[in-house]
Amino acid sequence: MKKYDTYMDKVHHWGTVWNLSMMVILLAFPVVVGVLFGAAPDLHGLVMGLVATAPMYWAVGVIETITYIPMLGAGGSYLSFVTGNISNLKLPCALNAMEQAGVKAGSDEGEVVSTIAIAVSSIVTTLIIILGVILIVPLSPILNAPVLEPAFAQILPALFGGLGVVFVSRNWKIAIAPVSLMLVLFIAVPALNAGTVGIMVPVSVLFTLGVSRILYKKGWL
């Protein structure tokens, strides 16, 4: 147990150093571009652009961080919040890996499996994007071909169909209420769509936790 604590402490230490360093590097990009090309940002554009964008994404960022950390594990969280595409790639990848390995999230093995899956996914994604950038001229007409457009437009339904059937079938008692609520909300409220699904994840998670707690207290789980 002592050794595990030591490893987790190290993960938090490494993660803090990496993430704060990455934050500085990312913030430096526009500054360095400005210095090299002798250009200052358009202050009006910067302020207005931030006012229109930042408040919502900062709020979503806080909620997402709190929601995803327990699911991703420590190492997976530090990596995922740098490399992005969490709900549509990193989290499903980690979930699938833990499921296949037969380990539980939050356990020693779960932490290892989740971190490996997310790291590999990040590396593969980065390499494929590099390849795409190098081959952008010949690839553009192929990837933008009208025949392929529907396939890439439906990536989330294709992903959550497979993933959903595994988790919902194993936890159907927990799943009934949140799936029903989300179906009603997404069908009845026109404002809920691809752009707002990220905001609905924490709502759904909180609702599911509440329902699960009631079911657990009643001895139905």
């Binding site: 993660g15 704060l20 009006h44 652009g49 964008t53 950390i69 327990p70 740098v82 699960s212």
Partner: protein, 245 residues
């Protein structure tokens, strides 16, 4: 130095940042692998996890490449390459870029040549607006982890249900999203059923994989069941869209 959105210097800067991102991923991969061996995990199992994660990632990663191409029309290749390799997504980057362009009197999708000042402004808005998670994880992760450990000590069964409930909650939101356009059938269009049908195909493939694992007793099938259901689901979208779209 004359600025253009595809200036080689921009590619050089982005390449350095991407190398750092790759460095972090490799670092955590090596540390987790060593930890896995230390606690007695089978290396074959660890290799299988690696291969499955890599295969699973290919299709979504290609979709990200398409996002780079989409954003490149306005912003050149270097900035979308950077933004979509780090935290963010097509929807976020598009909104952030469109808001910044709009604040400077430009229209997203109709920009022919950005000045260096406009480019720096857009890059700043895209970067600053999505920074929360990167610094908040170091602030919260340790405390939240301790909270989960203490929850497990108090009530192990509830801790397990808590984890499952979080996963189910996330999945439920995306299942709901798949149905968000079904009401179009009341307006004479069946297009809203396309994602529902695609999800059904993917779920069916997953179920068939489960049956196949039991019938032929081949454990490896389940390793690739999710990537296969993802690819077949995506492929099914082509005829389904032709039929319903």
């Amino acid at each position: 130095m004359t600025f253009n959105v595809n200036h080689p210097i921009l590619f050089g800067l982005v390449a350095v940042i991407i190398a750092a991102v790759l460095g972090q991923s490799v670092f955590f991969l090596v540390k987790a692998w060593k930890r896995g061996r230390e606690i007695g995990m089978d290396p074959v199992k660890l290799r299988r996890i690696t291969v499955t994660a890599a295969v699973f990632t290919i299709a979504p990663a290609v979709a990200i490449v398409i996002s780079v191409i989409t954003l490149a029309k306005d912003l050149g290749v270097a900035l979308p390459w950077l933004r979509l390799s780090v935290v963010g997504s097509l929807s976020y980057e598009t909104i952030a870029a469109a808001n910044a362009e709009s604040a400077m009197g430009l229209t997203f999708g109709q920009v022919s040549a950005l000045t260096a000042s406009q480019y720096v402004t857009i890059a700043s808005v895209m970067t600053l607006s999505i920074m929360v998670g990167i610094w908040l994880v170091p602030v919260l992760a340790k405390r939240m982890q301790k909270g989960m450990v203490s929850l497990e000590k108090r009530d192990k069964k509830w801790a397990e249900i808590f984890q499952s409930a979080m996963f189910i909650g996330m999945i439920a939101a995306f299942v709901g999203y798949v149905f968000c356009d079904v009401s179009t059938i009341f307006h004479g269009s069946a297009a809203g059923l396309i994602p529902v049908c695609v999800m059904a195909v993917s779920a069916l493939v997953m179920c068939l994989s489960g049956v196949l694992v039991k019938v032929v007793k081949a454990r490896w099938i389940s390793d690739y069941a999710l990537p296969v259901s993802l690819i077949i689901g995506m492929a099914s979208a082509v005829p389904i869209t032709a039929w319903l779209g």
